[in-house]
């Protein structure tokens, strides 16, 4: 019998477990985490800034406010979730799932992260919408 490896299933389970733990312990976790040192010393927002606030707002059910804090995390996370579910379904139905990855996907991914990190620091509308706000 052929033993099949299911890396996408393993990855999805790990992500679900970690996400559950983070959501359940967020008040403790975020209390001990210091503020973003990159923002503190430069005044700029890195691509990850606002992620902590976004997670806290998602836990409260305030999805629109969470999107405002870090749109890349929410929209990118949604796309990743759909892709993961697709891969897991294919792994169990067809015994294997290769996610095609071309050079243009790498270019898109890197451009997205760097572009988001640069655009959210432009102090002109509509780019200011990408910058996170202090949590009230």
């Amino acid at each position: 019998m052929v033993r099949r490896s299911r890396p996408w299933t393993v990855l999805t389970v790990v992500i679900l477990v970690v996400t559950t733990v983070v959501f359940c312990t967020q008040s403790l976790l975020f209390a001990i985490m210091p503020e973003c040192q990159f923002h503190r010393f430069t005044g700029w927002h890195c691509p990850g800034c606002g992620a902590r606030r976004a997670i806290m707002l998602m836990a409260r059910g305030e999805w629109w406010q969470a999107l405002r804090m870090n749109a890349l995390l929410l929209l990118g996370g949604l796309v990743c979730l759909i892709l993961l579910l697709r891969q897991v379904l294919l792994e169990w139905r067809k015994g294997g799932a290769v996610l095609p990855w071309r050079r243009r996907h790498t270019v898109l991914l890197v451009s997205l992260f760097l572009g988001f990190g640069i655009l959210r620091n432009i102090p002109v509308a509509p780019f200011t919408w990408l910058a996170p706000l202090p949590l009230r």
């Binding site: 990855l11 430069t42 015994g95 990855w101 991914l109 992260f113």
Partner: protein, 189 residues
């Protein structure tokens, strides 16, 4: 009866002959795309893989043979070299014969860690370092694998994200050290 000998174009070079099953594996692993040109005796001209229905039919899984020759990627110059039979069929080879191409788990891990490393603000190294390690391991494993393994592009993407994360980490550490050494911020008592 037409021979099961296919030729394909890769990076501007003609490759083959290869069997239909091997060509299907190349397509599934991503080494060939749907736009890659293929040809077999009987076809009028080279055609994109997407236009050849045979390549997308589900392969018929025959009884596992007791002896099978390993897959070869031969160029026209080396296509006459004999291939010795393999006495036992390894489980990985069985899976390959059924059209299941594995995707490197290390490549997937590299990409995921690389993305997390960029998002982790001032502790980028926590994600970036595993991304770089897994990326290099994945590329080596894919390169040394006797059977086709998918994930090279993903491993490269993970490496790029990992190195970017390490760059950010080095940058933020340098900024903090500069700020402290120039007394731009008060040092703790």
């Amino acid at each position: 009866m037409m021979k099961d000998e296919w030729f394909y174009s890769l990076a501007g070079t003609q490759n083959g002959p290869t069997k239909l099953d091997e060509l299907r594996v190349l397509l599934q692993s991503g080494q060939l795309s749907r736009e890659s040109l293929v040809w077999r005796q009987g076809m009028g001209d080279w055609a994109p893989a997407s236009a050849v229905a045979e390549l997308w039919e589900k392969p018929v899984v025959a009884d596992v043979p007791t002896a099978v020759s390993p897959m070869t990627f031969s160029t026209p110059a080396s296509s006459s070299m004999p291939v010795p039979p393999v006495p036992m069929v390894a489980p990985q080879l069985q899976a390959w014969q059924m059209g299941i191409v594995p995707q490197s788990g290390l490549a997937i891990a590299s990409l995921v860690c690389g993305i997390l490393g960029i998002l982790m603000c001032y502790v980028n190294a926590l994600g970036a370092l595993p991304a770089v390690i897994c990326g290099h391991m994945a590329l080596r494993r894919i390169r040394e694998s006797e059977l086709p393994m998918a994930g090279r592009g993903m491993a490269i993407a993970g490496l790029i994200m990992g190195y970017l994360g390490l760059l950010f980490q080095i940058g933020i550490v340098a900024i903090i050290v500069f700020a402290f050494s120039n007394k731009l911020i008060p040092t703790p008592p």
